[in-house]
């Protein structure tokens, strides 16, 4: 008996899309009534027998699996992507927006101590790096973001990060009006205090009115 190719297609799509192995009862429930499910399964199993993916039965249920001899191709994939903790994402964001920034300043801005390892992790990932030292007592190290950071998030330059106004406009930042302006002023002040550290700091001075000759 030959199998209708359209029945094979349906079975194939269902098995491919299923989030778990399917038993015959679930297949029957999902497919049109006129399909001979056992015969179609058998035809599909044969069609996939020599292929990179096989139709196999596990615990009585049907599923598509990588052919055993090709498993080696997948084994490279042991590197599981990990998620960053909220503290780490926030530290990264503060570093990006306030750079160059010292550890103490990050803690002050977040209002909570930075656990050991958060900065280390971001340094290890390569998204932040030491940028210089602050000209204050103790000469603490300042941190900033790296080119890898820009590459990962798809920004060309750090000034492409949306500003506070734009975060608000996009709805990401819900406004709490009274202090936001002062907050902004504070960030600005913190930035400008930095100018002394930066090699390009002198450039700022050119903004000052030039002598009129």
């Amino acid at each position: 008996m030959s199998i209708d190719p359209q029945h094979l297609r349906m079975m194939e799509a269902l098995l491919f899309a299923a989030a778990e192995p399917l038993d015959e009862a679930s297949l029957i429930a999902r497919l049109p009534e006129d399909i001979d499910v056992p015969a179609t399964l058998e035809a599909l199993r044969k069609a996939y027998r020599e292929r990179g993916v096989n139709l196999v039965q596990v615990a009585g249920k049907w599923t598509l699996r990588t052919a055993p001899d090709l498993k080696f191709l997948l084994q490279k994939e042991t590197q599981v992507t990990r998620r960053l903790s909220r503290a780490a994402v926030e530290t990264l964001a503060i570093t990006a927006y306030h750079q160059p920034v010292t550890r103490a300043e990050i803690e002050e801005i977040r209002g909570v101590g930075l656990s050991r390892g958060t900065l280390d992790l971001l340094l290890e990932i390569g998204w932040i790096r030491p940028k210089g030292r602050r000209r204050t007592p103790g000469r603490p190290v300042t941190y900033g973001t790296t080119d890898e950071f820009l590459v990962h998030f798809g920004f060309n330059a750090i000034d492409e990060l949306p500003g506070l106004d734009e975060l608000k406009a996009s709805g990401l930042l819900q406004p709490r009006p009274p202090s936001s302006m002062i907050e902004e002023a504070r960030v600005q002040a913190a930035r400008e205090r930095e100018d002394g550290d930066e090699p390009g700091g002198d450039a700022e001075i050119t903004e000052f009115p030039r002598p009129v000759d």
Binding site: E20, E77, R82, E192, D195, G196, I205
Partner: protein, 247 residues
């Protein structure tokens, strides 16, 4: 009769709906007639004491202007757009909005992943090769900062101390360096060379001016500024010299 002004997504939307009643292609619509229809709609809404949002009133005022420009013969004036130019702009806006709307519907009607087409239900784990094994999206990143700022805004305000140059420091410096400079010198010349950073620099200039004015009052220096926002010059006052005419 029900006038539901709330149901429209802005004045352009209302205009698009009105335009349909002309039963011609949007590209060949009479903008003059459309303006009339819009103005009649708004007038009717106001007669019925229906609150009309400001956006709609601004459009009404603009359309009344457009109407007057269209009814008058064209006047050549480089600076003011002609009536037809204004009409073309409105027609353009309407066509563009309708085109975007239709495009939106067409995009939404596509075979969408997870709804119409499904990817492998049980992926075994091949992912694209990335530089980083840590996954953070732009959205998560921006939300983290926005969330932090929203929380920070609720906390008691603390204003960070700023590093500024004081009038006392300026005063002291002026006393020291003034003797070395015989003639008129720009105020900025008197600043210590290590001053950098725009805020610190600006504070130093204003501190220097404050100290200079104080010393001028004491009769020790003279100040001169030739024009508003022009550079300020300062020199040591010599005995017997007249007071400067411009301060």
């Amino acid at each position: 009769m029900v006038v539901d002004i709330d149901g429209y997504e802005g004045p352009l939307d209302l205009l698009l709906v009105l335009a349909r009643s002309q039963k011609v292609d949007l590209t060949r619509i009479s903008i003059l007639q459309l303006a009339e229809q819009y103005l009649a709609f708004i007038a009717q809404a106001r007669r019925l004491s229906i609150e009309v949002a400001a956006d709609y009133l601004v459009m009404a005022a603009w359309l009344a202007y457009l109407k007057s420009r269209l009814l008058l013969p064209e006047v050549e004036d480089e600076d003011v757009p002609t009536g037809p130019e204004l009409a073309a702009h409105l027609s353009f806006q309407l066509q563009r909005l309708r085109a975007m709307r239709e495009a939106g519907v067409r995009i939404m009607d596509r075979d969408r992943l997870g709804r119409d087409v499904i990817q492998r239900g049980q992926p075994e784990g091949v992912r694209i090769i990335r530089n980083s094994i840590y996954e953070v999206s732009v959205f998560e990143f921006l939300r983290a900062y926005a969330g932090h700022r929203a929380r920070a805004a609720n906390e008691p305000l603390s204003i960070a101390a700023r590093e500024l140059y004081s009038v006392e420091q300026a005063h002291e410096r002026l006393r020291r360096v003034l003797g070395d400079l015989p003639g008129w010198e720009r105020l900025e010349t008197f600043l210590p060379p290590e001053i950098k950073g725009s805020v610190l620099y600006r504070s130093a200039v204003s501190a220097m001016l404050g100290a200079g004015l104080e010393m001028a009052k004491e009769g020790q220096v003279e100040l001169r500024q030739a024009q508003t926002f022009g550079p300020i010059y300062m020199r040591r006052k010599r005995p017997g010299q007249s007071t400067p005419d411009e301060v």
